[in-house]
Symmetry: C2
Subunit: 364 residues, 2 copies
């Protein structure tokens, strides 16, 4: 086994495949369609593990990512970032080859794209059910009905339904708090079906976010689910209560470059360009940039948390450890860091090393 | 001119070259050697703009980056991250071809590398002059003398001098505060020469960091300077007082995807995977992830700040704007975002588009 000598993103294939299988089964249990978000792994190889579970339809977060997965034989893709008229060329290239869905939230975008498109595309109207990032307010039936009248006139834009992302679940810390966000959001979302089903009987409702899909279950009336982060999970999802530490499928191998026993700190080669600067406030009010665990070759022991990453610069991470852990670490050792936000860490590392020693590539 | 339709990192070549020239002249004014840090741009093409200023010696922050620049004809490289014995193979590959300097801070690393190396390398001992990230405490003459005795015995490790990085200048907000950090740090640093010059008359002192090199001038006794960020500067450096807004050489072009006049917000396709999650506390106590400016084609007007990026998710940025600015922006427009930390933004984008329309590649 070749030793690890630089920051390397390890991937436990069994844990990852178990995460995929579990979520696929949950969605099946709700009689829902599973259209997983591929923005977390961004990898054609890992995508095939979804195909093994019967998944053919996917979600991505940019047209660039859609092009990558289309090149890798994915034929049914929703680009879940709001499209505008400047995306016409991207849409035309993709829609010539695959079944493409886009997301809109402005009436003028609908008209502009109808003029600019060469092929039919499916259209979701993005609605805001409480997160307040993007989307038409789900209560704003006047605006929504105006957009739907617009979509009745279009030949290239085919209305499919509504899409929402309750991203405010990321601020929660337990199942009760998740329910408190999900229930009113679902109520607003499902009301769209009630109000509009006479005119649009085939309307689909598409729901996102890993926290709610991991712990909530009463999704009656929702047609499609687009969680993404669950493929790897991370420390943030552990704190939300969406998973256990042992469900985290990725871990950054980080060489120890210095030890400072006088301040119970070790310094690793693992910085903002590897982990990202996403921090997480712990229960004690302190901030972590990753939980440090013991590595066993290319695998890690999530039960043995050695410390927390307390600060990051470009290439360095400073880890605080206990007096007991301090003497067990020395320069030249390699420790593991469970990321706070695996989507951002994977996006930075651009490659995984599986626990059985294979490099797995991502979109470049 | 082909329109911008996705997040694109613009680079103003004239501003960038002026930044390089100004810093090269400052260092010349101190009779110092300029060994700029290339971690900010990570680009062989931009590196050539340094060569035009007569620069032949450079600094990088990882062995991976050293391999990239060695492949691009740089023959004298300091890897300014503390090396340990697990770097022996990387050092051997590089030192066979180029003049390589490494940085150490542990006696046992010196002994282990002496056994593992095949070629001579220059060695800087990293000293901590107040930043408390890595390095031997500059006051700890006992440890330093032990390391130097070790280095007297080695045949592959050739002692060059001491290297420090006063990274705590990044917490400052004006020239006076920078001086308050730099002066005691320099005093500790220069004392090493005083104490050890009899035994090591050729000893070099190597100093880092953009804030101090941009505004401080009294570096008598320091031999070499390694600032890096100045090549692009960024909003953080503006707030520190190291540069003006008009000195920032990079700007992220960000498509507007939604407008929310009811909350004076616009949403752009520019998220944590483009800008990084580095935040900056402004004078009013609020946090920004980038200053939003008006784009003119591929150039921008740094005098016209339209708003601040207030939050980031993976692909989205939420920008707060004034009531006056709000009606001037619509979906499909493209705005500019001056990054908080250009090193991290460039590292994520992996490519620049120069204002005259050429793509400039970086290390992949």
């Amino acid at each position: 086994m070749s030793p690890i000598f630089e920051p390397t993103l390890l991937l436990n294939e069994s844990v990852c495949k178990a995460n995929i299988k579990r979520m696929a089964e949950r969605v099946k249990g709700w009689n829902g369609d599973f259209r997983p978000h591929f923005k977390t792994h961004q990898s054609a190889r890992i995508a095939e593990w979804f195909r093994e579970q019967g998944i053919e339809r996917i979600t991505v977060s940019s047209f660039k990512m859609a092009r990558y997965f289309a090149q890798n034989a994915w034929k049914d893709i929703t680009v879940a970032i709001t499209a505008t008229q400047i995306d016409a060329a991207s849409i035309n290239t993709l829609a010539a080859k695959i079944n493409l869905n886009i997301v809109v939230e402005e009436e003028q975008t609908i008209m502009a794209l109808e003029r600019g498109l060469q092929h039919p595309v499916g259209v979701f109207v993005k609605v805001d059910t409480g997160y307040h990032r993007t989307g038409v307010d789900a209560d704003d039936l006047i605006k929504i009905k105006k957009m739907l009248s617009g979509l009745r006139e279009t030949k290239k834009l085919i209305f499919i339904g509504f899409l929402t992302h309750a991203g405010n679940t990321y601020g929660t810390r337990n199942k009760v708090q998740i329910s408190e966000i999900v229930e009113p959001a679902l109520q607003k979302f499902l009301a769209l079906k009630t109000f509009l089903k006479d005119h649009f009987p085939l309307m689909q409702l598409s729901w996102g976010d890993t926290p709610s899909c991991s712990v909530y279950s009463d999704f009656y009336g929702v047609d499609e689910f687009r969680p993404g982060n669950f493929v790897f999970y991370d420390c943030m999802q552990v704190q939300i209560g969406a998973c256990q530490l042992s469900d985290i499928a990725v871990c950054l191998a980080a060489p120890v470059i210095a030890v400072h026993p006088q301040r119970n700190e070790i310094v690793v080669h693992a910085g903002a360009v590897h982990l990202s600067k996403e921090g997480l406030e712990l229960a004690d009010g302190s901030t972590t940039y990753g939980s440090v665990v013991k590595l066993n070759g290319r695998d890690w022991d999530s039960e043995q948390v050695l410390g927390q990453v307390r600060s990051l610069s470009q290439e360095h991470g400073i880890i605080s450890v206990s007096k007991q852990v301090m003497p067990t670490l020395k320069p030249g050792d390699v420790v593991g860091v469970l990321p706070v936000h695996s989507c951002l860490t994977a996006n930075l590392m651009k490659q995984f090393l599986s626990t059985d020693g294979n490099f797995i590539e991502m979109m470049k």
